[in-house]
Point group: C2
Chain length 201, copies 2
């Protein structure tokens, strides 16, 4: 394999990741990214066909790691289902207290590209969020197998709404307490659904 190729490509992606996340998509130029990666802009264009292409690659690179992080948090938590869900939000609160935290990269990119609904990066972002929602629904159904599929889907969606709401409001207020409030709300909703599910059984 060509070592140089993947090397430069990786360095570009790493630089793009940091800069796009820290500063925003349109705020960062390819010159800046190239400089940070220690290569020439032309080399960026060798590995990515356009800035839009690089934006897409940036989100693609964040997809799995992000989902993995949520899974890790969820699985590491002990306790009942409502508590495990709440733990996700507590971890987000903790992350959000780091000064470099700037919200959810997918959400912020979607906000910036709201005028380009067909942009490839938008599709990646939507798919990422769908995966999270689907995973939550699975977990709800798996737990004791008492929850009906449509109930699990509704509940997963409610959790997603609280999660993305937390990302957004924390960014606006720079106050991680919103994640804890969202976690409380999620816990209440999940507990309620679990209660209804087991009652029906």
């Amino acid at each position: 394999m060509k070592r140089p190729s993947s090397n430069a490509r990786d360095r570009i992606l790493t630089a793009a990741n940091k800069l796009f996340y820290a500063e925003g998509i349109r705020a960062v130029s390819l010159d800046t990214i190239a400089a940070k990666a220690g290569i020439t802009k032309k080399t960026v264009y060798y590995h990515f066909k356009s800035k839009d292409d690089l934006i897409e690659a940036y989100l693609v690179s964040r997809d799995q790691p992000n989902l993995e992080l949520f899974r890790t948090w969820f699985e590491a938590a002990d306790g009942a289902l409502p508590d495990k869900v709440q733990v996700i939000f507590q971890n987000i609160a903790a992350s959000a207290r780091h000064p470099k935290w700037k919200g959810c990269g997918f959400l912020r990119t979607a906000a910036e590209l709201a005028n380009m609904p067909g942009h490839p990066a938008m599709k990646v972002g939507a798919a990422h969020k769908k995966k999270f929602e689907a995973w939550m629904a699975e977990e709800f159904q798996a737990e004791g197998a008492e929850m009906a599929p449509d109930m699990a889907c509704d509940l997963a969606r409610h959790v997603v709404l609280l999660l993305d709401g937390a990302f957004s409001t924390i960014l606006v207020h720079r106050d991680a307490a919103y994640a804890e409030a969202a976690g409380e709300a999620a816990r209440v909703l999940v507990a309620g659904a679990v209660g209804r599910a087991s009652q029906r059984a």
Copy 2:
């Protein structure tokens, strides 16, 4: 009094409103805004000291009208408290189905300016969201005066989280159904809180 002054200023603000909301902050240049307002860029700089200043004015101009809209929806709804809250979300769903809808201007601006936490526009955005949250809390306390202040505040925050979550997820998925799901969740949470409050009384 100079007709021209207010006239030009208003035209600039109107153009900025449409363009910033439709395309995003950094995607729109002052040249474009000036052209849309039918004046020169220099005139823009006569009325606003910088682009940042205009961004701030853009959000200021949206503050009251937006809050007023929510109040109107809420007050026009009949039924119990949970239903009135849900109606806000239903109205958002309806708005979001219009093709020109591009999410919440405050949230999207906050996402774009996430790298400038001290930006005046960020403060305007945060204040706007706080006003909404405070208003919700008031409404919860006012309703029958059975809800304790801290409970009302917590509940208001949960509603805010669902609201901003709805704005964000609709934008990502281009699917207004998320607002309806958020409305359901909000109704459940409010009904639960109302139930606990009246039980305690």
